[in-house]
């Protein structure tokens, strides 16, 4: 599984970047991805995950995903899933599209609880899975703010 190398990098990077900070724990993202793809391989390429490398505000992070595909009846993207490593839940958003989309390109805005990797996985009509990941540094985290008592 090629995507495993991405996870290994994730384990190394935070120890450098966030050495003095308490880190949000990892969630069960690899398990959830495994559940989605089953025994199939996750290929690198075709997918392009667009995210800013440095995020000042984790509450509102622009995210876009595009997949190289002719989007024809015979060869199209069925779904695009986005996962996060350190938000409380690994699932971020899933898009279901088909040949009528014309092009496989979607955008939304998401929350990020911490500096982490984000993974986009595209499910193609031939049953193959393709992925891309991005590492983001988040200075103001979303989701987990503690209000003073």
């Amino acid at each position: 599984m090629k995507v495993a190398s991405g996870f290994a990098a994730a384990a190394v990077l935070p120890s450098v970047v966030g050495a003095q900070m308490t880190r949000t724990p990892l969630n069960n993202m690899p398990e959830v991805i495994r559940k989605l793809v089953g025994t199939k391989a996750i290929n690198q390429g075709k997918v392009k995950l667009g995210l800013p490398p440095l995020v000042e505000n984790g509450h509102l992070v622009p995210l876009n995903v595009s997949v190289e595909s002719p989007m024809s009846e015979a060869d199209h993207v069925k779904a695009i899933h986005v996962f996060t490593e350190r938000n409380p839940l690994p699932e971020m958003v899933s898009f279901r599209l088909g040949p009528r989309a014309g092009r496989a390109q979607v955008a939304t805005r998401v929350r990020l609880a911490d500096t982490q990797n984000v993974v986009a996985i595209a499910e193609l009509s031939d049953g193959s899975f393709w992925s891309d990941s991005a590492y983001l540094i988040v200075t103001l985290a979303a989701c987990l703010e503690e209000l003073p008592a």
Partner: protein, 109 residues
Amino acid sequence: MTGVANVRLDVPATAKRGEIIDIKTLVAHTMETGFRRTHLGAPIPRDIITTFVCSYNGVEVFRAELHPSVSANPFIQFSTVATESGTLEFIWSGDNGFSATQTARIVVS
């Protein structure tokens, strides 16, 4: 959630047949994650939009499944092929019976 949902749409009014059109949608919603607490420590229950569907003349062309990681006031951009004149219908649904529907007319020449 009560009250009429505030929805913003960006859909071209006209298009050429076969053209790929970009659609932008935004709906007002807090997208309360369910992971936050009040200042007294009581958990704030989850209240999010879970599903967004776009239908083109009654045929579903796009769907999104949303989770608490999606920002407040969910913005979704996608595309579709302008096949014929008619109506695009956008439906958001979610927790606590939330539902919002908006339509847009498109003229295809």
